[in-house]
């Protein structure tokens, strides 16, 4: 168990990176507390797997350091870091039984037989695979294979961190939530630091205490699921998290109000800084139909079960609203109001309104 510190971490796959575009990871500074559950969330190609491979030691970063507690492990190979990693596709040793698979990491490190038997039994119980211990691992279903590869990581009681690289990709949807809650349960039992890489917001938000959102090699926001949803620091976070994502609309600032398509919109607080391109960010959940507000033309209404998703046009700008009931007719003219406390201005993508002290 360890606290993990990434300090000034940069990585490029080119030997002589020139501009910032050559970097797969641009300047990462993060500290992860011992025993926490973290998620790295971002679209494909955002650098999250690169970051994971750097932490596990499969890659050496171009610049910067990785510390486990106070020990610098930047140059250590994976087997000396005491880490465990679960990959996208389950990795199991086909010719071995489940028991041998679980014992493999201990055996390689020369643990004594009594201890191996005991640990394997413990882990098998934790994962509910006791009755499978003596069958060949090759014949298991994908979700059980993935459990075994998880087990191989957890079997060592000295692991610093367990990392998951999109581990539920190949699992059937109805087993996904089962395995996900198993993971959560395991985390509570073993108290190891866990890092979970995914592009699926549901997985990240349900698993992690804290989510690191990445885009193009940069960390755009670190926060609890609630923080990411309630107050996105960047339009990317707002758009990426939430279904549908946050509305990002062109606007101008006038004092502590914004002008959107010629209509005045109230904000959470005064706009800071100047220059750059301004956009207005408001989640569809905070858009409502009211007597006053911006006039809009309803282009589509979708009933998604729990609520309605309304697509509307304000002037030339498309906009989405989520309504619990009383959805308007398609083609009708309505007025939409934005909840001021949840309406913000972003400058070049980054948040540019101050929260009003309440």
């Amino acid at each position: 168990m360890a606290q993990i510190t990434l300090s000034n971490l940069k990585h490029s796959y080119y030997p002589n990176p020139k501009g910032p575009d050559d970097y797969a990871l641009k300047e990462i500074d993060v500290t992860w507390r011992d025993g926490g559950a973290y998620a790295l969330l971002g679209p494909s190609g955002c650098g999250k797997s690169t970051l994971l491979n750097i932490i596990s030691g499969l890659l050496t970063p171009s610049e910067g350091r990785i510390l486990f507690d106070d020990r610098d492990v930047t140059q250590l190979p994976p087997d000396q870091r005491n880490i465990a990693q679960v990959f996208q596709f389950p990795v199991i040793y086909d010719t071995m039984t489940v028991r041998e698979n679980l014992a493999f990491p201990l055996r390689n490190r020369g643990a004594e037989p009594g201890k191996i038997t005991q640990r394997v039994q413990e882990i098998a119980q934790m994962l509910d695979v006791v009755e499978m211990l003596d069958i060949r691992a090759a014949g298991l279903s994908p979700d059980n294979k993935q459990k075994i590869s998880m087990g191989r990581g957890l079997v060592r009681d000295d692991v610093n961190v367990v990392m998951f690289d999109e581990p539920l990709t190949v699992i059937d949807p109805h087993l996904k939530w089962k395995l996900r809650s198993k993971l959560k349960e395991l985390h509570q039992r073993v108290q190891a630091t866990m890092i979970y890489v995914t592009h699926d917001q549901t997985e990240a938000l349900t698993f992690a205490d804290e989510v690191v959102v990445m885009q193009e090699g940069e960390v755009v926001q670190i926060g609890t699921p609630v923080e990411l949803f309630e107050r996105p620091q960047h339009t990317f976070v707002g758009h990426f998290i939430g279904s549908p994502g946050m509305n990002v609309l062109p606007c101008q600032a006038v004092g502590d109000r914004a002008m959107f398509e010629g209509h005045e919109v109230a904000l959470e607080g005064p706009v800071t800084g100047d220059g750059g391109t301004l956009t207005l960010g408001v989640r569809p959940e905070h858009v409502a139909i009211s007597d006053r507000g911006v006039p809009a033309h309803v282009t589509k209404v979708s009933d998604v079960g729990r609520h309605f998703v309304v697509d509307a046009m304000v002037g030339q700008t498309p906009l989405k609203a989520v309504l619990d009931h009383d959805a308007p007719e398609q083609g009708s003219e309505v007025r939409l109001s934005f909840k001021p406390a949840q309406t913000r201005v972003y400058r070049d993508g980054w948040i540019a309104t101050q929260e009003r002290a309440s």
Binding site: P77, D79, A84, Q85, V91, M96, F104, N108, G139, R152
Partner: protein, 287 residues
């Protein structure tokens, strides 16, 4: 709804005809010869299983069969491990991959009788590059035209040169299909290089290795052209393998009956051993 008609047979007929003309009919001709005696003039006399009995009891057949098994066992026990080692040491990505693959494929592209001639000229004691080098530079007494041992070594080395590539290419195909995650997981699990080979690479190569062993068994057991061109079965009968002996009986002595019986026995042995190999190598997968 399921309709039943006999149209499917129409699609099978071309294949049936093809197989009939290139396998069944020639095969039945051989069966026909194997139970009869002929003195020419298209006159045939019923022999029953006499030829089979005669062939199986003859010292000449048993000696050739023994040489054939020895040859196959020797080349399999060299080519399979060597092929695996070469495949493991080949690069998995980068500039050298196509270079290695082409170099490996080259020996297999050479016509078989050319391989025999090449090695014949290469190893002749006075004029061949290797023969001259061994005798006159290193002082090793080597003459594949006179000494059975030298002839055997030459035939084996030639086959290894010609066919190890097949094992290499098949194993290599198995190796490159292993996802990187397996090697990464093994690294994290602290596995040694031997463990990686034993628990990851070998199991993943098993399917292609089964094919490689089967192909090499069948080809080496039926080998004819290269040793025939290289040594002609000599010196004496020392490198007369089964197929060479068969051709001697069938075309040299024109004993059609015994040759036909021998062909069938030869075919049955090849089939039987291939089947045993296949069953042994795949029995673990049946679980």
């Amino acid at each position: 709804m399921k309709t039943e008609n006999q149209k499917a047979w129409l699609f099978v007929i071309p294949v049936l005809a093809l197989v009939a003309f290139n396998a069944l009919i020639p095969m039945m001709t051989v069966v026909n010869y194997s139970v009869q005696e002929t003195f020419g003039n298209n006159q045939f006399f019923w022999e029953g299983l006499g030829w089979f009995e005669q062939i199986l009891r003859s010292d000449r057949f048993q000696a050739a069969l023994g040489r054939q098994f020895m040859f196959t066992i020797i080349i399999l026990s060299i080519e399979v491990p060597l092929g695996i080692i070469v495949a493991l040491s080949m690069p998995r990505k980068g500039f050298w991959v196509p270079v290695c693959l082409v170099l490996m494929a080259l020996p297999m592209l050479i016509p078989w009788n050319v391989v025999g001639s090449m090695w014949n000229i290469f190893t002749l004691p006075k004029i061949g590059l290797l023969g001259y080098f061994l005798n006159d530079v290193l002082g090793i007494n080597y003459d594949m035209t006179q000494q059975p041992i030298s002839a055997w070594i030459t035939v084996v080395v030639m086959d290894v040169w010609h066919w190890t590539s097949l094992v290499v290419l098949l194993c290599y195909a198995g190796l490159v299909s292993i996802p990187d995650a397996y090697y990464q997981a093994a690294k994290i699990d602290g596995a040694s290089a031997w463990s990686v080979f034993r628990y990851i690479q070998l199991p993943k190569m098993k399917a292609v290795l089964t094919i490689a062993v089967l192909l090499r068994f069948m080809d080496s057991f039926n080998i004819y052209t290269e040793p025939f061109v290289l040594t002609g079965g000599g010196p004496g009968n020392s490198t007369t393998l089964l197929s060479i002996d068969l051709v001697k009986i069938a075309l040299g002595q024109f004993d059609l009956g015994p040759a036909a019986a021998m062909s069938l026995i030869y075919f049955a042995i090849t089939l039987l051993v291939s089947w045993v190999f296949y069953v042994l190598m795949t029995k673990d997968d049946q679980q």
